[in-house]
């Protein structure tokens, strides 16, 4: 019973704002009444016809894609190395993984701004700088997910077995380890995508209006002198939520068979 009340309250806490945004995105006019005066899909149709919204969406998707690729390529081999070959660097990596959370991202952004301005002016204000910075702050999600599944899959034993079978390190990583931890990589990637899609501070500081991502576009709807398009903002909010939600549902569904496979092997 108590659990039900708790879950109910939690549902309200998370659900109400979403519900309000959802209603607002399909409302004709909604001012001082409890419910909107009428409903319409015009905002949904209109938003995706607005060039600033579609290009912001594309920019955010591009950023997420680049960041996820960078993080997979960097983190999977690094996590593998630290778990299987050199547990001592594991503690170093774990410390590094906390930094993005200990230091405000605004500070990270401002710091990078200063450093690139004086040492790499070519990178200053570019998409690549933003991608690198986002990859850096999102990598702990990937690291934790990958490290956890490496340990759960018994990566040390599997690597030793592969070596006695004559496999070289690349063959071991691509044919044995990666397939065994695919579930962890995918869920780490999901968290990285969600982070990159929603990241505001770095984008604002590093590239600002030069590369307007979805969060920056959203913020502009509040801060521009004439209030932007609140209905469009509601549409974008619900759309982003729906997109990430669908992505996670897909991942959970794809991962289910694999995770239980690993679980049973361990037993």
């Amino acid at each position: 019973m108590r659990r039900r009340i708790f879950l109910g309250l939690l549902g309200l806490y998370f659900g109400l704002p979403l519900l309000a945004a959802l209603l607002y995105s399909v409302a004709t006019r909604w001012t001082d009444t409890p419910l909107p005066d009428g409903y319409t899909l015009d905002h949904w149709i209109g938003v995706f016809g607005k060039p600033d919204v579609t290009s912001a969406l594309l920019r955010s998707l591009l950023l997420s894609a680049v960041v996820v690729v960078v993080d997979v390529l960097l983190v999977v081999p690094a996590a593998y190395w630290s778990v299987v070959h050199n547990p001592r660097i594991g503690s170093v990596v774990q410390t590094i993984a906390v930094i993005p959370f200990a230091v405000p991202w605004v500070v990270v952004g401002a710091g990078l701004q200063l450093v690139t301005a004086s040492f790499a002016p070519g990178l200053f204000g570019t998409f690549w700088l933003l991608a690198a910075a986002t990859a850096a702050i999102a990598f702990p999600f990937m690291y934790w997910a990958v490290e956890g599944s490496l340990i759960a899959a018994g990566a040390v034993r599997l690597s030793e077995a592969a070596a006695t079978c004559g496999a070289n390190p690349v063959q071991t990583l691509t044919r044995v380890i990666f397939p065994a931890i695919r579930g962890g990589v995918v869920s780490g990637a999901l968290l990285v995508v969600a982070t990159a899609m929603n990241e505001f501070a770095l984008a604002k500081i590093l590239v600002g209006a030069k590369f307007e991502t979805l969060p920056i576009w959203s913020a502009r709807q509040f801060v521009s002198r004439t209030l932007g398009d609140p209905n469009a903002l509601a549409v974008v909010t619900i759309f982003t939520f729906g997109f990430l939600f669908a992505l996670s549902a897909l991942v959970v569904r794809l991962g289910r068979g694999r995770v239980s496979t690993i679980g049973r092997t361990l037993r």
Binding site: A162, C165, R175, V176, P179, R264
Partner: protein, 343 residues
């Protein structure tokens, strides 16, 4: 020349000695069992041969070739791990074929060899299953087939049967022996189970605290252990601590053997003890009898040189049927079967 030779191999972990200068050799086609209690260094020794653990000093050659600096993947070995370590994402065929595909053998070559190995371990029906769809015994067969598929020179087995229940373990033990004979491969088999070691191997190396105490044929290990540790570890012996007089030890008439020390440990197996109603021997009272099938284990309280001692004897059940608790008997042990060590 011996096939696998270890000379004075040592390995230390943070001040703790895991291998204290081990020297042992394995002949071509021979099955050597490494037998010893938990923590004595069996796995460490095996891993040193495989190259998974680097030793501190000493020398290892396989087929006359010094293995120093040779990485695991280039050593002519196949290994079976206690936990099987099958690749969870590959089918049985995929697992067995893995060592062949990483060596870039042709598709048909791999397929042929995989079928051959499936046949050898009796898993032809299960080739397309994933490891988690197999029983423990079947997984162990796959691990064995995977290790043998690339025709290694030496097979290394680390307690391959210890995770299985008794019935499967006994069946698979005999099967491992059959396969080893059939393939004729030089094999090192690690176990802490003395019955397994004696049953399966050509020679047994008894290990204790990072060193090999005795290395001999199973029958010799069983009947003539050369050290006190080997005697205690193999054969479930009675142990009596006794005082000698005039260079001999007499256990209240149970036996009379030479003993060049002042205090000695006398060890003898329960099947070498005889209990008679009368005649020579130490006085004893029957305590309990435990029926074991063909034999019955009889515990007696004996009086040995003035102090009481518990001795157990394994008698044919027919002979033991007439004994019941409280009966007075005479206990004697064939002196040829008593091992004497300084206490």
């Amino acid at each position: 020349m011996s096939h696998v030779v270890l000379e004075d191999v040592t390995k230390r972990y943070a001040g703790h000695v895991a291998l204290a200068g081990v020297s042992v050799s394995v002949e071509q086609g021979e099955m050597l069992a490494l037998l010893g209690p938990s923590g004595c260094g069996k796995t460490t020794l095996l891993r040193c041969v495989a190259g998974l653990t680097a030793f501190d000093s000493g020398r290892l050659t396989i087929g006359g070739v010094d293995m120093t600096g040779v990485p695991v993947r280039r050593r002519p070995i196949g290994m079976v791990f206690q936990s099987y370590a099958l690749f969870p994402n590959l089918t049985v065929r995929g697992n067995i074929g893995f060592p062949l595909t990483v060596r870039r053998e042709t598709k048909t070559g791999v397929a042929e060899r995989v079928e051959e190995m499936l046949e050898l371990v009796g898993l032809s029906e299960q080739g397309d299953r994933l490891p988690n769809q197999l029983s423990g015994g079947q997984q162990q067969r796959v691990a064995l087939a995977r290790a043998l598929a690339p025709r290694p020179e030496v097979l290394l087995l680390d307690e391959p049967l210890s995770a299985l229940d008794a019935q499967v373990r006994h069946r698979l033990r005999d099967e491992v022996r059959r396969i080893q004979h059939q393939v004729g491969i030089t094999t090192v088999f690690v176990t802490h189970d003395q019955a397994e070691a004696l049953a399966i191997s050509d020679r047994v190396a008894v290990m204790n605290a990072g060193d090999i105490e005795q290395c001999a044929a199973p029958s010799e290990i069983y009947t003539a252990p050369s050290t006190r540790f080997a005697a205690g570890f193999v054969g479930n012996r009675n142990t009596l601590e006794l005082r000698t007089s005039g260079g001999r030890v007499t256990a209240g008439g149970a036996f009379d053997v030479e003993a060049p020390w002042e205090r000695v440990l006398c060890m003898f197996r329960p099947e070498d003890v005889s209990l008679r109603r009368e005649g020579p021997g130490a006085r004893a009272l029957v305590d309990v009898t435990v029926f074991l099938g063909a034999t019955t284990r009889v515990y007696v309280q004996a009086e040995v040189n003035g102090s009481p001692a518990t001795v157990f004897a394994d008698l044919p059940s027919r002979a033991a049927a007439s004994l019941s608790p409280g009966d007075a008997v005479r206990l004697s042990v064939d002196p040829g079967h008593v091992q004497v060590f300084p206490a």
